[in-house]
Symmetry: C2
Subunit: 222 residues, 2 copies
């Protein structure tokens, strides 16, 4: 049976074509971009100079295991053990370079294993977050705050933000297809000119939504 | 021309039927219900008679650890080890009573640990699912299918289904609030008159959405 091309059908076809073009970065100007790549962040640690000295020895320098998606940042070869009131997790990788404040980023399932109850927090915002114990080959550090569940977020440059029609600090939703699909709320847009376009979620979100690094998801502005 | 029964069509029919029932006083008055309690299902195993014989010994009977939300079903004291190509998980609880077919229900993160790639599947539907090895105190069973990631689902009675304005086999969405909130798609309504009203999700979904057993979520009919 042939079907007459109704206005609705034409609109649907147009929409599909534009979506496909947008996926390969060819969206006509006017149409905002809406697709981003996902990167799954495993639990990790950022450390400051003083704590690295205690954990790995005075003056120790991190060595690069591999580059990660954000320019200048890297996964280090160095790993620590996290210890909480109820359990410990070994081989938690340090991300470099060094930061001003030590911070541990864990998934909710990790927090349960450790016995800590960190809030969902933006990286660097430690007010009201619990502490935790880090153990390295040379020593132990007990921080009294800085253990967070990282907020779902999307890194982008100002040019990206314009192309997507979003702004720094905006919360968007992200749509995921498939049999474990759905909609993630409370996804923070983070704009900085040295950011690479990338959505960061933790392993629990990755597992729940059936996502892996490199998958493409759609930004929804509600 | 016959027309396939789409979700839209089914919804329209349901709506019309409910309206007609309402005219003769047989529909719940007022607004449909929309809130359900969540139950988080940890990884577990259902076994059949023959496999229990191998795992725990000829004629062995499961003993009750505790009742679970669905009437007549229980968590048993008996536990097995699951072994996949890449790893094993110990102390996986058996749920009773015995079933016709042995089935293991794991979360996506468990599947990764084991090195299996099960599809999201309805309980009892094993076509195309991978096998796995179960180890008990008396013996080992290798099943060639029956390892699934359980489909997100909501149990209810027919009376509940009427009150919610949904039907058996309908896929709904479920809305979750909070800083890890969002929308779960592909949530199957399962109606049977001995079902207790309860939404079942696995631990990965529970962790990702910040849900625990007893939390209340909202059904959305899209």
């Amino acid at each position: 049976m042939t079907q007459p091309i109704t206005a609705e059908l034409a609109e649907t076809i147009t929409k599909l074509v534009l979506e496909e073009l947008s996926k390969v970065g060819l969206a006509p100007s006017g149409e905002p971009q809406k697709y981003v790549l996902v990167g799954i962040s495993a639990r990790h640690v950022h450390v400051n100079r003083a704590h690295l000295d205690v954990l790995f020895g005075q003056g120790y320098e991190l060595s690069k295991f591999k580059d990660i998606s954000q320019p200048g940042q890297f996964a280090a070869n160095e790993q620590v053990t996290l210890i909480g009131p109820k359990g410990k997790i070994e081989k938690v990788r340090i991300l470099g370079p060094l930061r001003k404040d030590t911070q541990t980023e864990v998934a909710p399932s990790d927090a349960r294993r450790l016995g800590v109850n960190p809030p969902v927090s933006q990286s660097g915002v430690h007010h009201g977050t619990p502490g935790i114990t880090l153990v390295g080959p040379k020593g132990t550090v007990v921080i009294d705050q800085g253990c967070i569940i990282a907020e779902r977020h999307i890194h982008m440059t100002l040019a990206d933000a314009e192309a997507f029609g979003v702004w720094n600090g905006q919360k968007v939703q992200v749509k995921i297809g498939g049999s474990r699909g759905g909609l993630m709320d409370e996804v923070m847009i983070r704009v900085r000119d040295d950011f690479a376009l990338d959505m960061h979620i933790d392993t629990d979100d990755g597992n729940a939504f059936g996502l892996k690094t490199g998958d493409i998801v759609e930004i929804i502005k509600s």
